[in-house]
């Protein structure tokens, strides 16, 4: 293949308009130079420590472990500044944008976590920030919209297609194609044209780098299983990164099954998607019989995405990682369990990974161990949780 370095097996690539090809080449060159520059890395790690609050704990969840009969560890990305792993990547990309002399940043957001993280970074580094967000997601995530605006960002509602993350991403790409001369596009997930999947992985790999060392120090050896939820796949690729070469460690990505895979209302690109092209990449993609992109469904806005990052598609095909799915109901049950047994309100996204950890634990021994990436906190989801519980009569 002529564009080999942009690919993970048959996935990835640069499926964008000609107008963006030179821009991608510039980003790629600047990125490669930056991550080999000790000064850049020093700066990046400085902000991760002093601003984001890393490292995050690898917490041994005692009561969950006792209940489920295996050792469950939580990588506490919910304790990062802004409440999720998204900020790790934003700090990296925004430092790169500054280094490239850009004065404006744009971002897409679904649940709003990446938008909030980008608005935060833009405030910190004095950059002009515009966030594209689907009109439906703006309704679902009002709190995060308010946070972004407080941080000085302009939130642009996107009214096209399904009014969600995929459409917000389309609009961000369109805007970028017009404004690339002074604008840097901060992609929040492990998706998009090369080098974005590689950049996002690089800037999220602090999750697994820390977790691997923490586990070795606190427990010894390697965990048996490492698990994370997968929408586009940023927290999961960060959680997998340093374990990919450790072949004894099972890597499990958990997609959203929504109302159930069989209902068609889900967001499991790996389970039912076929290879396709969206947002500048070739990867597994939910599509209808005519090759149009199908709407994803999940109670969690952050997993509500019809595609998946190209490296995940490759990890699936090569057999290195397994991908499973969890329904809305299973995720909400796990969320409540984590609240009640450990005093942690997780994001609904992260609760999908928790739910599968509980399922898998039944097949594991008390000596074995699972690390689950607790990618974000659930404050943003309180309204959704309340609506759900009211419908289910949970708190009666």
């Amino acid at each position: 293949m002529s564009n080999e370095k942009a690919y993970y097996g048959q996935f990835g690539g640069q499926y964008v308009s000609e107008s963006l090809m030179n821009t991608l080449a510039e980003v790629d060159a600047a990125f490669e130079e930056a991550i080999h520059d000790p000064e850049f890395l020093k700066q990046y790690h400085y902000y991760l420590k002093q601003y984001v609050g890393r490292e995050t704990p690898l917490y041994y969840a005692e009561r969950l472990s006792e209940k489920y009969g295996t050792r469950i560890y939580l990588k506490r990305e919910d304790l990062n500044h802004t409440g999720a792993h998204k900020i790790n990547n934003v700090i990296g990309q925004i430092l790169l944008a500054k280094r490239m002399g850009k004065t404006k940043v744009i971002a897409e957001t679904g649940a709003g976590q990446h938008g909030v993280a980008t608005a935060t970074g833009a405030a910190l580094f004095n950059m002009d920030c515009t966030v594209y967000m689907g009109a439906e997601d703006i309704e679902r995530q009002k709190l995060n919209v308010m946070r972004m605006e407080m941080l000085g960002a302009t939130v642009v509602p996107v009214h096209s297609g399904s009014n969600t993350l995929k459409d917000a991403t389309n609009e961000a790409i369109r805007t970028w194609a017009k404004t690339a001369e002074d604008t840097f596009y901060i992609i929040g997930s492990a998706v998009g044209p090369y080098p974005y999947p590689k950049m996002v992985k690089e800037f999220q790999s602090c999750i697994s780098r820390e977790a691997k060392r923490q586990f070795a120090e606190e427990v010894g050896g390697l965990p048996d299983v490492v698990m994370a939820c997968v929408g586009g796949g940023s927290n999961s690729i960060g959680m997998f990164a340093d374990f990919i070469e450790e072949k004894s460690v099972r890597l499990i990505g958990v997609e959203a099954a929504g109302l159930g895979i069989e209902t068609g209302k889900h967001a499991s690109a790996m389970a039912l998607g076929k290879p396709g092209v969206l947002h500048g990449m070739k990867s597994y993609l939910l599509q209808d019989d005519d090759g149009n992109v199908e709407l994803a469904h999940s109670i969690s806005a952050g997993l509500d995405y019809p595609g998946v990052g190209p490296e995940h598609a490759y990890l699936k095909d090569s057999g290195r990682a397994e991908y499973v799915s969890i329904t809305d109901v299973e995720a909400m049950d796990a969320l409540m369990e984590l609240c009640k047994l450990e005093g942690i309100i997780p994001a609904i996204e992260s609760a999908h990974a928790m739910a599968y950890a509980f399922k898998l634990a039944e097949k594991m021994t008390p000596e074995q161990s699972i690390i689950v990436c607790l990618s974000g906190r659930g404050d943003k989801d309180v309204n959704t949780i309340a609506d759900y519980l009211a419908g289910k009569g949970y708190l009666n």
């Binding site: 499926y15 308009s17 000609e18 107008s19 030179n22 297609g161 369109r174 017009k178 005519d290």
Partner: protein, 266 residues
């Protein structure tokens, strides 16, 4: 005589020292019968080439007008199969106008790249414009396009392509499609600030005709660059005009003959 309809047409125009007039319309808007009638009316009115947009759910290279057109067309049931059928019917009914499919790569992948190319040749699709397929990603489809003349891939260049232009033009067929601005279709009145230098540069390097598209509404729009281009492509404005006239083929015909006429006197 070239066997590809686009290339044959462009050779005729060159001999006559005429500029090409090319339109874009979204297939199936408001329905496929209307699309066919509009294509035929344009052929009669002197349009040289038509681009038929195959609608896709996520048209990232298109502005609001074509996004909305695509959305409505999909809701109306348009798909790639119906687009092929429409071209086959037009050919059977005697339409000899060069026809190009403008579509996104996912539609091609979903159909199967090899089968897609085969079907284009059989149906009478003369060219392909795939805006999310830059030269780095063309190897897959080129493998199936090679060794035949019926269907060719049209190359796009942008105002920021610069050092990429010679590589893009290498082996390019038909014409080179110069987008007039950064970004998406349909931003009228906002040509790139370097538009004249950019077009002159491409013209100097290109062995094949150079067409300009994006943001053109009338023939006088291209007056400043008439020496650097061999024709104009009108898309979003054409769709707006069709809407305003309730998709009457006569309105399309009148617009096309006026544009072509005015272009000859620039």
């Amino acid at each position: 005589m070239r066997t590809n309809r686009i290339e044959a047409k462009l050779e005729q125009l060159k001999e006559k020292n005429e500029k090409a007039f090319i339109t874009y319309l979204t297939a199936g808007l408001p329905d496929m019968e209307k699309t066919k009638a509009i294509v035929k009316a344009q052929e009669a009115a002197g349009t040289d080439i038509v681009e038929i947009g195959v609608p896709f759910s996520d048209p990232i290279a298109d502005g609001p007008v074509i996004q909305q057109a695509s959305y409505e067309s999909i809701l109306g049931g348009t798909n790639i199969h119906k687009c092929f059928t429409a071209v086959e019917e037009l050919r059977a009914e005697g339409c000899a106008l060069p026809m190009i499919f403008m579509l996104y790569y996912n539609t091609v992948c979903h159909y199967g790249v090899e089968n897609f190319v085969k079907k284009c040749r059989e149906a009478g699709v003369d060219g392909l414009i795939i805006p999310d397929l830059p030269m780095e990603e063309q190897e897959e489809i080129k493998a199936f396009l090679e060794g035949q003349d019926e269907t060719i891939l049209i190359q796009l260049v942008s105002p920021v392509s610069k050092q990429r232009v010679p590589e893009i033009l290498k082996d390019a067929r038909g014409f080179v499609y110069c987008v007039s601005s950064m970004g998406v279709t349909g931003q009228s009145g906002s040509f790139h600030k370097e538009i004249l230098n950019y077009l002159a540069d491409v013209k100097a390097k290109s062995p094949i005709p150079v067409m300009m598209g994006f943001g053109i509404t009338q023939a006088s729009d291209i007056a400043p660059m008439k020496d650097s281009i061999d024709g104009a492509i009108v898309g979003s404005h054409f769709i707006n005009l069709l809407r305003e006239n309730n998709f009457a083929p006569e309105a399309a015909a009148e617009y096309c003959s006026t544009f072509k006429q005015e272009m000859s006197t620039l």
